[in-house]
Each structure stands twice: as C-alpha cells, then as structure tokens.
Amino acid sequence: MKIEGNELIINGVVATIDRDNIDTDQIIPTEYLKSIKKFGFEDYLFDGWRYLDEGKLGISKNDREQNPDFILNQAPYDKATILLTRDNFGCGSSREHAVWALRDFGIKIVIASSFGDIFYNNCFKNGVLPIKLDKNKIEDLFQKMSDSSADLSVSLDSKKIFQNENELYSFGVEESLLERIIYGLDDVDMTLKHKDKILAFEHTRMKNTPWIFSND
C-alpha cells in the first residue's frame, strides 16, 4: 500500500489463473495445515499446480521441482501482488491458511466474479482485499491482461481499478471491511468495546434459555 497524491494505492503485477471454482485445497493442500504457525506459507501456495513433485511441510521451494508452465513460476508473475481469476474463488473449506498463503506470497488483491463466503470473510482479517466484478468485466480484464502490460493499480479510496492511469472499473466493498485492511484493525479489540452489551445479552439468555448453559 502506498499513497499517491491523496490516494491509497495498491499496484503491481497481475497473475491470472483462468479457472472457475478454485477451492481452498488448491490454494493450499491439507499437508500444510499441520503447521501451528500463522506465517510462512508462501512456498506452499497453489502447491499442486506450482510443483511437479509432492511436497511436505518444511521443504522450501528451492528444494522442489517447479512446474515451469505455472504462472507464479514465471517472471514477472513470481512477484505478482494481484491475482485475477474467475468464479467462486476460495470455495470449499474454512481454512484461513489459504489466505495466509496468498498473503505470505505477496498477493494483496484477488479479483474474481465471486468468492466462497468463508474465504471472503477470512481475507479481511489478513489484509487481503477480495474484489468482486461482473463476469463480463472479468472477461474484459483477462483480455487486457493477456496484452503487453500486466500491471494494475487499485485505489482503496475511490474504489477504482486503473491500467496505465486509465480508469477501468469501480468496485463495491463494505466500508468497514475495507477500513480493517487499511488500518490493520483487530476484531477482538473492537468487539471488546461492546463488552457490557455482550454481558447483558448473555445474562438475559441464561435466564430465558437456561438449557443452553446446562453444562456450564
């Protein structure tokens, strides 16, 4: 993220993966879910497509056989900060590791025509911005990205996407979710500001539906 003029901008190389329904098992396979850490997943992003051999947690990408045909193994896409894909990206499991892998690789924005619900939520907890665009705009972007320039700029203030300073599209995103990314806000801290309301609610619930609390 950087400030250009008065605007908060994310820009960089766009990697494209032309597939619908990319599930979280493709984004990061189960093997790597054995980690008990929250960081260090960059080498395992799209593991099944990115490598020709089978990986294990702890083995780095330099000790793997990379698939030269996969876009993230090709310059300049190996430094991509934006991922462009199709429909229902991140469907499947709730594993937040999928977002951690994208984030650790350096992906800051994912553009797709739709997202899996749980994945979409998880993005905002980790500073990754999911942008939804209509299918025809996605198709148009794929066309544009196949031409010479593979760079885009995204303004978080005006919620617009630019290519070479030309405005392409605006996008919609919930303001409070976007703020979480911009300011790196922590949900637990924010929620605990409502501590009294939670306590009062819980007190009433214990009275009205005591069976819920019967094993307390």
Partner: protein
C-alpha cells in the same frame, strides 16, 4: 412480519448492529479441533485473554489422528512428527485453558461433527461455530451453525460473539419418496449438480418438504453437511418430532429442562407466509443414485449416465470440464460404470454415522471385496459409533468381506493422516469433496453414498443398486 427459521435464529442471537452491515451475534457453542485452533489459542494468549465462557467450548482431535490405533493409544504414539505436534498442541491448550476435550484416548473422541450431536452438545436453536466448513451439519437440528476461519475462532474464544453479515434466505423443498437404493447423499449431490457449487453463496439454505420430514437425523445431517458444497455456509432444517426424540436420547438435559426447552424449540419454524429470496422444489422420486465424475462436487451424473461429452458442453464449463476430465483420467464417451476402482473409503463427517454403516453393511453381507480393490476401509465417525456398530456385528460383516475396520477420525476424506490415495488411484468415497489432490496428491475421488461405495468395493466398479 413473517419470518424464516434463519431470521428467527438471527434475531434470537443478535446483540447489536455494528457501524456497518455487520452485527454481533452471540455464540452458544464452539467446537474445536487440532487443525484450526493452535493459532487462535496463540492469539488469545498474546492478548492476555482467556475464553469468555469456558464451557461453551468442546474439543476433540479428528483431522490428524491415525485410524489404526488399537487399544491404549496415546498422542505420543502418533508416528508423523508434525501431526503429533498439532494434536499435542490441542492437548496442551485444552489443559492450559481448562477446555473440555475428548482426547485421543477417550471413547467419546471422533469427528467433531459426529460427536457434538451424539453427546448432546448440539441442541436446537443454538448458534454453533467451528473452524471447519462442515459445521453446517449441525443445522440439521435447527441450529444456526457455520464454519469460520481461525481469526474468528480466536474471536469467539475471546468474546463469545461473531461479527457477521446477515445472509439471504433460500429454501429447498424435497418432496416425494426416493427410489430403492437412493439415500440422502444422492439427494444432496443431485441438488449441488442442479444449483452448482456457487448456487448457495451468500444464502442460508433451509431444507424442507415431505422427504426431509420423513428422514432420520443422520440423513438430515448428511444433507446439511453438504450445504457448504452448494456454496451455503449455513444449512437448516426445522426441528420436529424426529429431532426432539434424538435430542431426548442424546442430551444430558433433565426432564424439566427438556420440557422447558421444548416450548421454545417448537417455535423454531419458518412462518407460513415467510418469504425466501430463492426457492427450489425437487421431486426426489425422480433421482437415481448420484456419483461425481470430476473435481468439483457439482460434476455429478446418474450412476448409469455417460460423463458429459466435451462436444456438447458450452464455453465456460468446457474449460472446467476439460481440466477435470484430464485430471480424473476419463476418456470421451465413458460412463462412471466403465471405470475401474482401486480403493474405497466409507467414513467422514458426511457419512460415518451408524445408519451409514448399516446401509453399507447390508449390501456387503456375505460378499467379498473385489480383487481389483487394493484396500477398502470403513472409518466410523466416533468411538460411540464404533462401539454401536460392533455391538450390532457390523464390523464382523465388513471384516469377513475383506474391508479394514478402523478407529474414528476424518481419515481419507482429506488425508491429513496416513490414510491417503497414491497418485492416479481411483477411489469410491463417501466423503464430501472431490477436489484435486484432496485425498492424496493426484488421487482421483468419486463421491457417492455409503451404499454405492460398498457396492463398488464388492464389484470393483460402480453398479446398479437395484
């Protein structure tokens, strides 16, 4: 204004509207397992917090646990060092914070979505979360239940609440009587085939209709379990007599508490004139046994149908189908019944309950696993399911036929433990996801019902159940 069941559950748990589209919902129950909790506990510790309401949480290890354990197996006996660390971490965290855990030595250990209901921790009208997308399973009891990410697991531990946006309402009515050999797994696969894996995105799906009313809690759980495969993180069924009988048998509630609760639970139905954003009606009598052929749970055919020919598939799907066919090693004009299978897996949070094992045992009784099958495993969903099955002699039926009878866990549904497919092996699986590599690197998964998987084990191929 008339309300849907989802609306009612939402309102009942609504604490406050936040300064956006999001609200704060009170969470009655959180289930924890070893894979998505360590980072949440770490976050909690770093903030110097402890769980808001300790007894709202129930933990068990399921994803990583080996399923060949035998007696007196302990966490330290896990061979895979990395898996062992993760299970040990759950043991440590539960001890540290005082969370109730059914650990690897407990008869009550099992897949979190199997043990919750059977131990009576899932009660109608609850909000239930777990760091696992198949938490939708508990919606079968009229719960607002959904899978969440690890940051949210931490949030629920710390605050007993979840920040969520309200979903839209969708209702799927299943009416009619199913054909012989057709189970709830076939019904839900048919739905996913029809609406696609994104069909339920942004919606809570309420399942209703005469078919739903007629089926057991086990069958209802299978349907709600797979609502996430149709894109809906919430699946729901209004509680009824079947639900109350199950809860009476499984919960620890006193007679008085139960009666008290009943007066509330009976109100958990969608009002007659409640409106839904989307409605679908399906006649289940027309549905044949369903089998997936590809790498997405929407790539489904009738068991005796040809797999879609690429010449007759339109633009967008063509690319997806082409990739899926290549991955699955399927040639043009092949049927699922033409494929030769290598392994069979009966288990997972979708189909590892007692009724599933009975269904499978019925068609296996007196038969032998085909010589073409390298291994056929049955993995009961919990220690209690295992015990029940053994008391009915089901394990003997399976073992006599050449199946391997295992200890409870998630097992080959996702292959985090040693139960994995080898590259290019083809598996008849009762689990929920046929994604690339899901059951092992380059493995090929065909989802189907326990009955169909058992028949595939015996015949080496998918066959007509009738």
């Amino acid at each position: 204004m008339p309300k849907t069941l989802y609306d009612k559950l939402w309102e009942e748990h609504h604490i406050t509207t936040l300064d956006s589209s999001e609200s704060l919902l009170y969470i009655d129950r959180q289930y924890l397992h070893e894979v998505t909790s360590p980072q949440a506990f770490e976050g909690l510790s770093k903030k110097g917090l402890s769980p808001w309401r300790l007894n709202a949480n129930i933990a068990t290890p399921d994803h990583n646990v080996p399923t060949e354990r035998g007696d007196s197996f302990k966490t330290e006996n896990i061979e895979d060092e990395i898996s062992k660390i993760q299970v040990t971490e759950l043991d440590k965290n539960c001890n540290k914070f005082g969370i109730k855990q059914f650990d690897i030595t407990s008869i009550n250990q099992g897949i979190v979505h199997v043990i919750g209901p059977e131990l009576g921790y899932t009660l109608p009208g609850m909000t239930i979360v777990c760091g696992d997308s198949h938490t939708s399973t508990h919606g079968a009891f009229g719960c607002l239940a959904m899978g969440i990410g690890t940051s949210e697991v931490e949030h629920v531990l710390a605050t007993q609440t979840l920040k969520v946006s309200k979903l839209k309402n969708m209702r799927v009515k299943f009416n009619g009587e199913p054909q012989e050999g057709v189970t709830s797994k076939d019904i839900v696969l048919f739905l996913i085939r029809r609406i696609g894996t994104a069909g339920g995105n942004g919606h809570a799906i309420e399942f209703a209709g005469s078919y739903i009313e007629s089926i057991s809690m086990e069958a209802r759980m299978t349907i709600c379990n797979m609502s996430i495969e149709a894109g809906a993180k919430v699946g729901l069924i209004a509680p009824d007599g079947t639900t109350f009988n199950y809860v009476k048998d499984h919960s620890q509630l006193s007679e008085e508490e139960f009666e008290d609760a009943m007066s509330h639970w009976t109100s958990l139905v969608s009002d007659n004139d409640a409106s839904f954003d989307k409605e679908i009606e399906i006649d289940v009598s027309l549905i044949k046994p369903q089998v997936t052929w590809g790498t997405s749970p929407e790539m489904v055919v009738d068991f005796d149908q040809e797999i879609p020919n690429l010449d007759f598939v339109d633009g967008e799907n063509k690319r997806n189908f082409e990739l899926a066919k290549k991955y699955m090693g399927i040639e043009e004009n092949q049927k699922v019944t033409d494929l030769k299978f290598d392994r069979v897996f009966i288990g997972s949070c979708t189909n590892s309950r007692i009724e599933d094992l009975r269904d499978a045992a019925k068609v296996v009784d007196g038969k032998k696993v085909s010589e073409d099958i390298i291994e056929a495993i049955v993995v009961p969903g919990s220690g209690l399911v295992k015990e029940q099955a053994e008391s009915e002699g089901l394990n003997k039926i399976f073992e006599k036929a050449g199946f391997v009878w295992r200890d409870p866990g998630c097992s080959m549904c996702l292959g985090m433990n040693p139960d994995q497919l080898k590259p290019y092996e083809r598996c008849a699986s009762t689990s929920n996801r046929n994604f690339e590599g899901r059951q092992g690197n380059l493995g090929r998964t065909h989802l189907m019902s326990p009955l169909m998987a058992a028949l595939t084990a015996v015949n080496g191929r998918v066959v007509d159940p009738s």
